[in-house]
């Protein structure tokens, strides 16, 4: 391993001068710089990032903490796209990404306290987590890809506007004449579930329609067909009257729901309408193609990363909280309510 010291000796200059050259400091005579660069190339010298980081206090690494089991995350093609946006931005800034999946025992602050990263991005973080709140209190540079509290919270976040997304899909279904609209909101510990419920209620409130509480239900994300079947028989089909439209928690659940309903003899969308979320490729590949509320997933990742870069450079400032529009993509899985 060639060290800076060896380069300095070989070039006949001090270590600091070599350091200046590799850091592009302007205070070096062009001639000296040229000479040093030559020696660096000759010796194939690579600065040791570890030593650099230790001395400077900067790692040039950003941590991505994913609050998901590994098994869950790869069932659903959403994460790919998010990661795409994040890495695209970090690449431009010449930063690297450290990826870690969280479980119950993992600490959110550890990676930062151990000086392994300069900042953090947190995906799918749960509501009301004390450890997470510490990140905010200690002003550790971090951006959340979801809201970690429903009320005001001085955290930085980039998230999709689930309230208006839910409102617009509910509006659309109400327009089509559906009045028994099932909402599979998502897990209770996620902000998005509560925000969807809020949007759903707003659509009803606008028209002075009463909301049937039993039609709003927290449910797991990424359910397989077997789980969807149980949910139908154990819950939704117990209701009277039965829902004529389902707002599924995500595209995968929508696809599996359509499959189950079809198997039970229902025609989609003539008998039942089904809506997905995220507008992933699943929605356009399934038959019928699935109406979905699209997140700007790639942009979400990119924006979160660039927001983090800003925060890391400007020390403290007021919370950056960015709401990205959601878009209703109407396809073939929704239609007028049956008589």
């Amino acid at each position: 391993m060639v060290t800076l010291k060896q380069v300095a000796e070989a070039a006949g200059v001090s270590m600091k001068t070599v350091s200046r050259v590799i850091n592009n400091s302007p205070d070096v005579a062009p001639k000296t710089r040229h000479h040093v660069e030559h020696v660096i190339a000759e010796l194939n010298y690579q600065p040791n990032q570890l030593a650099r980081s230790l001395a400077s206090g900067k790692t040039n690494v950003v941590g991505l903490l994913v609050h998901h089991s590994v098994e869950e995350m790869f069932k659903y093609p959403f994460f790919n796209e998010l990661l795409g946006g994040i890495t695209a931005c970090l690449n431009q800034a010449k930063l690297d990404l450290l990826l870690r999946f969280m479980d119950k025992n993992s600490s959110y602050v550890e990676l930062y306290d151990q000086q392994r990263v300069d900042g953090l991005i947190l995906a799918n973080a749960p509501l009301h987590n004390a450890d997470l709140q510490k990140l905010v209190e200690r002003q550790i540079p971090c951006v959340f890809l979801s809201r970690i509290a429903l009320e005001n919270n001085p955290s930085h976040w980039v998230d999709s506007d689930f309230v208006s997304g839910a409102e617009s899909i509910t509006d659309y279904l109400l327009e089509l004449g559906h009045c028994h609209i099932a909402l599979m909101a998502g897990s209770e510990h996620l902000a998005l579930s509560h925000l969807r419920i809020q949007g759903y209620r707003q659509a009803f409130a606008k028209r002075d329609y009463p909301v049937t509480e039993s039609l709003i239900r927290h449910s797991r994300l990424f359910m397989e067909t077997a789980q969807v079947r149980h949910m139908l028989t154990d819950y939704w089909f117990q209701l009277s009257p039965r829902p004529t439209a389902f707002i599924a928690s995500d595209d995968l659940v929508a696809v599996n729901l359509i499959r189950e309903l079809t198997q039970l003899g229902y025609r989609i969308p003539e008998d039942v309408s089904v809506v997905g979320w995220d507008n992933t490729m699943l929605a356009s590949i399934a038959t019928p193609q699935v109406t979905s509320v699209g997140q700007q997933t790639y942009k979400k990742g990119f924006t979160a990363a660039s927001t983090l870069l800003e925060i890391m450079s400007n020390a403290t400032q007021s919370p950056v909280q960015i709401k990205l529009d959601m878009e209703l993509i109407v396809r073939d899985s929704t239609g007028p309510a049956p008589d």
Copy 2:
């Protein structure tokens, strides 16, 4: 930031003793250890990994270099699963993952030379790349998720057995009476393309059937519908007779191909059979469900990571080269050849 030195002072012991405690060295009196642990907890001390790594020469980080544009990789739900396997294994070993997407200017050895990682996993690496070969020559701990040379090469790799995968799907189509079987092999610079061609040829050779060379074609992965359409009109539909079966380069291309063919009035599988690769969720979600040659993607990732761990601990040894079985999953997109 609490340092080891401060802990030592607070505990009234030397730095080395504290160091021994945090490294679980046996040579510490139980009483001393207990006391030191107490002080560590009290002060909420976290060892600085940077300093540790610099002094010890170990980073506890593995680099994953993905030879894909960010745009490509998130079009296709294969990467997710691979990443799942890799992280599952690394998690167990308490190692972290540094993720980097490669472009033409990126260096494969840099991350290692800069002491940022202890070892590397390389996904989708191209054939015959000089820089890549350097990794092998210099005995840098690394595992490839594909073969980087078709002939013998002393590199460590974990890959699916594309030859027998291609052979079995070709066998199957020949059994069904297809004799004009189009093979969309994949990019020329990828080993998998050449291996597929080899398997395809073997199936024909076994029966003494001649291979029509124009039916074997390199093609891009992850093509969108528009690109698939062009490929059909510009190439495959120029052939006479037209193919009655297509072995697509991957599930996404298979799905898009089915869509295009359907739009052109062909019935699948009555008029044309289509096969995909990787057995991703796309294959089971599309209509008709797609016959696919499945990779054990999760296992591939997991095995690559565990192989790397072995290599990193045992210094040098003979090349580890692991071939994972592929499985033919017959679904509804393939059927007997038309008369």
